[in-house]
Structures are given as structure tokens and as C-alpha cells.
């Protein structure tokens, strides 16, 4: 059987309820949001225990803030991750399912790693205070290691995803099927490190934002805030440099016959990364002033790279004549409208608590109505 035929045969026979490009756009967009919070959780957890083990009052304070915010960021990453997880299964179901089933225990383990990481992080956050509690740094370390492991699972699933030509040989040994789900068939370290190092860049920007956000507050120590923002700017700058070097390493691992190096989407993605780097260089002197700009360009760069990632996926799978745009369409406008209307309503509803939280954080108080 020809592979293109097999892949299309694995698709869901009921087809998709709306145009595939729309799911693709939503997938890329929500993935970008998701990965930013993943970055914050990974980088933030590391920095939280790193600062915890350092001496100094500022370090302790920063450690506390990062531990607390990482719990929030991790749960945001989980909730935001649901959307791309859903949409990838709509348009790339054959690839996602085969890759996941082949390493089934790792996929299930992923959730166990994240759950335990979350609980460990909370234990670290709640118990870390005071000299006697220094030992609780262990929980921070454990949480970080588990998050690294979870990220690794996503790496292997995404890499196996791209190699349909190898699936059958992986699965079969003679006439025996490997149904154990414990085997890891492939992964890509360069790609993995590219994400992990970027976590520190995003976390650095987050620290800059922190310094900026609370700068108006009378009850906060100005020197401390400035110290956080400057450390963040430095962290962001150097991590971005390293991430770029790792990125080149990863690019070298992409088969040259795919011609991805000259792909316009990749070039745009890289350029956006360079712009972000320039903003960070400018930001070193007055990190608070550039905090919002850095955040904006970080987001744009992440979005650009998520797009390039999706384009690369299409290039890879194009080799097997797979295109999401040929997915059978069984248009269902009613349910599409249900989602879009709920989504708009959701944004309006969320604006209220977010505005309350923003005002309270930035000015330390709110008016009578709370907003």
C-alpha cells in the first residue's frame, strides 16, 4: 500500500466540521500562547530554586515571587495546552494518534509528571520560607526535573509524528506487534534544547515585566524591583543568544533536501527573533522602560516561530503527499457558531476579573466596585 493512501485512510471518516485552515490557524495561535506559559513555568521554576539557594534578601524575595507565579503559569499552560491538543487531533489525527499510541506509557506518564510537578511546586512555594525550610528547595528541583521530563515526552511525540515511513518497522518485529507502549523510538535533542533555553529568555522578560508592573507601588522596594528587572533583562538577552545558537544546530538536523533553510516562513521567524534580540540589547540600560516592548516582541517572535514550525510540518508531511487541506469537509455551521459566540462572550467575561487583578496589582488598591 502506498503511504499517502494509508495516511488518508487513517483519517476520521466523518471529516471535519469546518475548513481545515481555520483549525490550523487556531492551532498555531493557541500553541504560541501555550508554549509561552510552558516557558514561564519551566524557566520560572528553575529560577525559583536557583534564587532560593543563593544568599541575599532580594534573591529570597524573588524566589518567592517566581515560585508563586510559576504555579499560576503552570496551570495556565495546562489549560491553554488543551486547545492545540484538540486542534492537532482534528487535522493531523493519523500522525498524532500513531505517535502517541506507540509510546503510550510516556503519553500517560506526561500527565503524571505534570501533576506531580505541580504539587511539588506548590509544596516548595508554601514551605520554602525561613532557614529551617531550606530543604524544601528539593521540591523546586524535583518540580523542574519533572517538567523537563514532560517536555521531553512532547518532543518525542512530535518527532515520531513526522516519520510515518518508519512506523510500521518500529511497531513490528517479525509477526510480533510491540504493544507495550514503553518504547521511545525517536527524539531530537537540538529541538528540545531550543525550547528549554528559550524558556529562560521568556522568563527573563517576565522578570522585566515584574519590575515594571509594580514600579508605581508605594509599598514595594524600588531598588529590589529594579534589581529584578535588570537581572531579567540580562537573563533574557543571554538566553536568546544561546537559543539562537541551538536553533542553528537544530536547523542542521532538518534534512537538507526539504530546502527548509530558504523557506520564507523560516526566514521571517528568524528575523523576528533577531528583532527581539535587538530590543533586548536596547533594554539592558532601562529594563523597566522596555519591558512592555520586550514582551510584545517576544510574543511576536514566538508566534512567528510557531508558524514556521507548522510550515515545517507541512513540508515534512508533503513528502508523503499529505495535506490537511484535502481533509473531507462535513460543514457544520451551527456548532462553529456556538464556539465563536462563546469565545467572544468568554473574552468579555474574562476582562472583568483581569481588570480587577491588574488594577489591584499595579496600584495596590481598587475603587469601590473593584474595577
Amino acid at each position: 500500500m502506498e503511504l499517502a493512501h494509508v495516511l488518508n485512510g487513517l483519517r476520521d471518516p466523518m471529516g471535519v466540521p469546518f475548513y481545515p485552515w481555520f483549525f490550523q490557524v487556531l492551532m498555531v495561535l493557541t500553541f504560541a500562547l501555550h508554549i509561552i506559559f510552558v516557558n514561564l513555568a519551566i524557566g520560572g521554576t528553575f529560577m525559583a530554586f536557583y534564587e532560593h539557594y543563593k544568599k541575599g534578601e532580594y534573591n529570597k524575595k524573588l524566589s518567592g515571587f517566581l515560585a508563586r507565579s510559576s504555579t499560576v503559569n503552570l496551570s495556565a499552560a495546562v489549560v491553554l495546552g488543551v486547545a492545540p491538543l484538540l486542534f492537532v487531533q482534528v487535522i493531523y489525527d493519523p500522525f498524532w494518534y500513531v505517535s502517541t499510541v506507540l509510546s503510550a506509557w510516556w503519553a500517560v506518564g506526561f500527565l503524571i509528571f505534570v501533576t506531580v510537578a505541580f504539587l511539588a511546586l506548590y509544596a516548595f512555594y508554601l514551605k520554602r520560607k525561613g532557614e529551617a525550610m531550606k530543604g524544601f528547595g528539593f521540591f523546586g528541583v524535583a518540580s523542574f526535573v519533572l517538567l523537563l521530563l514532560a517536555a521531553f515526552v512532547m518532543n518525542l511525540i512530535s518527532v515520531q509524528f513526522l516519520e510515518p515511513e518508519k512506523w510500521k518497522a518500529w511497531y513490528l518485529t517479525g509477526t510480533m506487534m510491540n504493544t507495550s507502549g514503553t518504547t521511545i523510538y525517536d527524539f531530537r535533542i537540538s529541538r528540545y534544547l531550543h525550547y528549554i533555553v528559550a524558556s529562560f529568555a521568556i522568563t527573563g522578560v517576565f522578570m522585566m515585566l515584574y519590575g515594571w508592573f509594580f514600579s508605581k507601588r508605594e509599598d514595594m522596594d524600588k531598588d529590589y524591583l529594579h534589581w529584578v528587572a535588570s537581572s531579567g533583562a540580562k537573563l533574557a538577552l543571554w538566553s536568546t543568544v544561546v537559543a539562537m545558537i541551538v536553533g542553528v544546530w537544530w536547523l542542521l538536523s532538518v534534512p537538507s533536501k526539504l530546502n527548509f533553510v530558504s523557506n520564507p516562513f523560516l526566514i521571517i521567524g528568524v528575523l523576528l527573533g533577531v528583532v527581539f534580540l535587538i530590543v533586548l540589547i536596547l533594554a539592558q540600560k532601562e529594563p523597566e522602560k522596555y519591558a512592555m516592548w520586550s514582551a510584545l516582541f517576544a510574543f511576536v517572535a514566538v508566534l512567528g516561530m510557531s508558524t514556521a514550525r507548522e510550515v515545517l510540518r507541512m513540508v515534512y508531511l508533503g513528502k508523503f503527499n499529505y495535506s490537511i487541506y484535502t481533509y473531507k469537509l462535513n460543514l457544520n455551521l451551527g456548532s462553529t457558531a456556538l464556539f465563536l459566540l462563546t469565545f467572544i462572550m468568554g473574552i468579555i467575561v474574562m476582562a472583568y476579573p483581569l481588570a480587577v487583578a491588574w488594577k489591584l496589582g499595579r496600584y495596590g488598591k481598587t475603587n469601590e466596585e473593584g474595577a
Binding site: V78, M350, L360
Partner: protein, 453 residues
């Protein structure tokens, strides 16, 4: 069809059961607890009761960590487990209901934003604003239940969807409204049980008595109303599902009894410690009551899952992930009809090419693959684990290939098992393989497998 995953010696069903059990308590608490929190917060502000506020603050952290966060993680866990066990069924559900899940996700977003804001703004913003945020959380949690109920109900009673494939035909299915009312009523029971725990920790006996009474009223009301709606619900599910639950399987009959006993015990708890001895109610009994409730909910959910057999997607996809229905509206044709003629193995890309045509030297390998494809979603092939086939076969009294073959012939007569799918030769290959599991030492005649005589 996709590659297979097998939890050797334990059973795939067990994986699902473990994760689902971990999901049940947090997910129900995440929906039920905040109504009570809202209600109590209002009372606390009215009566200027600072102890109560401290308490609520502590408890909303618990709801946040153990209910909201572990609830969403174990919820994703169910999704992952179902993916590795039955990827095609998850695919089918997603391709039908992607906008339903996406809508559900919007409510998750609202929930996460409001629950964190609620927790971190305790006593820092005006009571009115704070309570409003709590209320938004409670409402969006309920709305996420409104959505998930449509999909869960669909999986048992698909209604007109079977013909039309329409989103709303499946969503507002025959058991939708009864199930929504049952779930909403029990949401308040969960809330009441949770409030009883909160109240039982309170120091001031007057406050405690008041809070306990509130908890008991919510709990009792939910139990009575939920009980009535449950009867309506049972009337709405298909007759075959009722037969499976109440006649076919001893297991589900036990579950039903457990659920009833749990309900009665909770009723007694709320009457005695909630109304009569509210002043002296202790945390231990409150926690025990919550555990009893948990067991009851588990029993109820298990029955609902069993009642879906032998389908993963009702009247559409069997437990072996094969489609047995022509859905003209969506251009889908039955695979079972096709496989019965031309065979399962030739259509399964992930089977080795050498077994696609069965002969005297490959029939064991062919039988093994067929058995895994058609049986491991419910059974194990080892002698240990959940519903072991060799053990069940011994119990049934089939040992030789031809006895097993006769059993496979009648498979479709069981309410809860899908029929055998494939050609006659494939059936004999499966029979030979299963017979070799029951008694590895017996001699199996290859000519019988290939030629049928």
C-alpha cells in the same frame, strides 16, 4: 486502524478506571464547591464574621489546587488514556464534537482566570466585586458541565444523530435533560458535603451550627431532587442498557446497590449531623461522608460506562474501533460489512504483510493479531488482570479450537460484546489462538484452520 496498546496482565480497562476514579472527586468538587463558598461568603459579610472568611480563604486554596488543577490534569489524563486505548473513538468524538470541546475550553479559561483572581484578591477588593468573581467561577463551572453532559449523554443515547450526524441532534439527545438535572442536583450534594467539611472545622459553635444547617439543606435537597431525576434518567436510556445494568452483569448490579446505599447513608448523615447534632459535628464524620459520596459517584459513573457496551460511539463504532453503521449523511460506510467479506487483516496496515493471507504456518500469528484487535479493549489475554480471556473461556467451558469457534459464532448474542468481525478463516485463526491460550499443550490442526475441515 491504529497500532495497539496493551497493559499486559492488568487490562486497558483498568487504566481508564484508575484515572477516571482520580478525576471524579476533584471535578465534581470544582463544580459544586463554589456555590457554597459564594453563599457562605455572603453570609460572612452580612454577619461580619472574620473567622468564616479566613476559613473560606483557606478552603478556596484547596479547591484551587486539588480540585481545579488536579481536576483539569486528570481530565486531560482521561483523554490521553482513551487516546492510547481507543484512538479511533477519540478521533470520532473529536471530529463530531470539536466545537463542543472548544466551547468547553472557553469555560475552562474563564474558570482559571476567575479562580486565581478570587483567591489572590481575598479581602483586598470590595466584598461585592469579590463575590461577583466567585459567582462567575461557579457559573462557568456549571456551564462546562452543561456542555460535557451533552457529549456524555450522546455516548449512551445518540438519538437522531445516528441518521443525521448532526451536532445538535447528538448533543440534545434523549437523555440530555434528565442527565443534566441529575448532575446539577448532585452538584449541590457535593457542595453540601464539602460545606459540611468546612463547617465541621469551625470553632465558634453558633457559626458552626448555622453553616452545618445550610450544608445539610443543600445536601438533602440535592439528594431528593437528584433521586427523582435519576428515575427519569433510567427511563430514558435504551432498554438494552437497562438490561445490561440490571440483568446481564452482576458487576453493575452491585454498583447499583452501592450507589443506593451511599445515597441513603448520606441522607442519614445530613439529617443527624447536619440538622440534629450540628453543634458537635466533627471533621472525621464529614470527611467520611465525602468519601461515601465519592464511592457512590464512582458506582454511578461505572454503570453509565458499562451501559454503553458494546459501543464506543453508539450505533456507530464498536469497542473494537470498527464502524458498523452506514452514515449516509456524512458519507461513511460500514466497515464491519466489508471486513466480514474481505477480511480484517488485509485492511490493517500495521499487520505484518506475511499474515494478510492466512496459511498453515502463519495462522497463530494471524489469530494473535486478530484477538488483540477485537478483544483487548475489554479483556486481557493473560491469566491475570481485568476480564482475562483464558480464565473466562475456562469458565464458559470452551477449550478446543472448535469449541472456541462456536463461542465466537455466538459472540454477537451478548448484549455487551461486539460480534466477531472478519472472514470465516480469520474466525478459525482467532479460535485456534485463543484455544492455545486456554490450553497451550493441545494439538491444533492447521488444515482445519485454513480449510475449515
Amino acid at each position: 486502524m491504529y497500532p495497539l496498546f496493551e497493559w499486559h496482565g492488568v487490562g486497558n480497562g483498568m487504566l481508564m478506571a484508575i484515572i477516571a476514579t482520580y478525576h471524579i472527586l476533584p471535578c465534581h468538587l470544582a463544580t459544586g464547591a463554589f456555590w457554597i463558598t459564594y453563599f457562605m461568603e455572603r453570609k460572612a459579610y452580612q454577619e461580619n464574621d472574620m473567622d468564616m472568611l479566613d476559613f473560606l480563604k483557606k478552603y478556596s486554596l484547596l479547591v484551587l489546587i486539588f480540585c481545579f488543577v488536579t481536576g483539569s490534569l486528570t481530565g486531560a489524563g482521561i483523554w490521553y488514556a482513551a487516546t492510547v486505548i481507543s484512538p479511533r473513538a477519540i478521533s470520532g468524538l473529536i471530529h463530531n464534537y470539536v466545537w463542543g470541546w472548544a466551547t468547553e475550553w472557553v469555560f475552562f479559561l474563564i474558570e482559571i482566570v476567575t479562580i486565581y483572581t478570587y483567591y489572590y484578591t481575598f479581602e483586598k477588593i470590595s466584598p461585592k466585586a469579590h463575590m461577583r468573581i466567585g459567582l462567575i467561577y461557579a457559573m462557568s463551572a456549571w456551564f462546562s458541565m452543561v456542555i460535557i453532559t451533552g457529549i456524555l449523554g450522546f455516548m449512551l443515547t445518540p438519538g437522531k444523530w445516528v441518521q443525521t450526524g448532526g451536532f445538535f441532534d447528538g448533543f440534545f439527545n434523549p437523555s440530555y435533560w434528565p442527565q443534566l438535572f441529575v448532575r446539577t442536583a448532585f452538584m449541590f450534594v457535593v457542595g453540601g458535603a464539602y460545606a459540611a467539611i468546612v463547617a465541621s472545622f469551625m470553632k465558634n459553635p453558633d457559626v458552626k451550627e448555622k453553616a452545618m444547617k445550610v450544608a445539610a439543606k443543600w445536601g438533602l435537597g440535592g439528594l431528593v431532587v437528584g433521586g427523582v431525576f435519576t428515575i427519569w434518567y433510567f427511563a430514558k436510556i435504551p432498554a438494552v442498557s437497562r438490561t445490561i445494568i440490571f440483568n446481564d452483569l452482576g458487576f453493575t448490579q452491585t454498583m447499583f446497590k452501592i450507589a443506593i446505599v451511599a445515597g441513603v447513608l448520606l441522607f442519614i448523615y445530613f439529617v443527624i449531623w447536619g440538622l440534629k447534632r450540628a453543634r458537635t459535628a466533627s471533621p472525621i464524620t464529614a470527611i467520611i461522608a465525602m468519601l461515601i459520596l465519592f464511592v457512590g459517584i464512582c458506582a454511578g459513573e461505572t454503570m453509565r460506562e458499562m451501559a454503553r457496551r458494546p459501543y464506543l460511539i453508539p450505533h456507530y463504532m464498536l469497542s473494537n474501533q470498527m464502524i458498523d453503521h452506514d452514515m449516509k449523511a456524512k458519507g461513511v460506510t460500514s466497515e464491519v460489512a466489508k471486513f466480514d467479506k474481505t477480511g480484517v487483516l488485509p485492511a490493517y496496515y500495521f499487520a505484518p504483510d506475511s499474515v494478510k493471507k492466512i496459511n498453515e504456518s502463519n495462522f497463530m500469528a494471524a489469530g494473535r493479531i486478530l484477538t488483540k484487535l477485537e478483544c483487548i479493549s475489554c479483556h486481557t489475554l493473560e491469566t491475570s488482570g481485568f476480564l482475562s480471556i483464558p480464565r473466562l473461556m475456562v469458565g464458559f467451558g470452551a477449550k478446543t479450537p472448535s469449541e472456541v469457534h462456536d463461542f465466537l459464532d455466538a459472540l454477537g448474542d451478548y448484549d455487551y460484546m461486539p460480534p466477531f468481525v472478519g472472514t470465516e478463516t480469520e474466525k478459525r485463526a482467532m479460535a485456534a489462538y485463543i484455544a492455545s491460550l486456554v490450553d497451550p499443550n493441545q494439538k491444533i490442526d492447521p488444515a482445519w484452520v485454513v480449510a475449515g475441515k
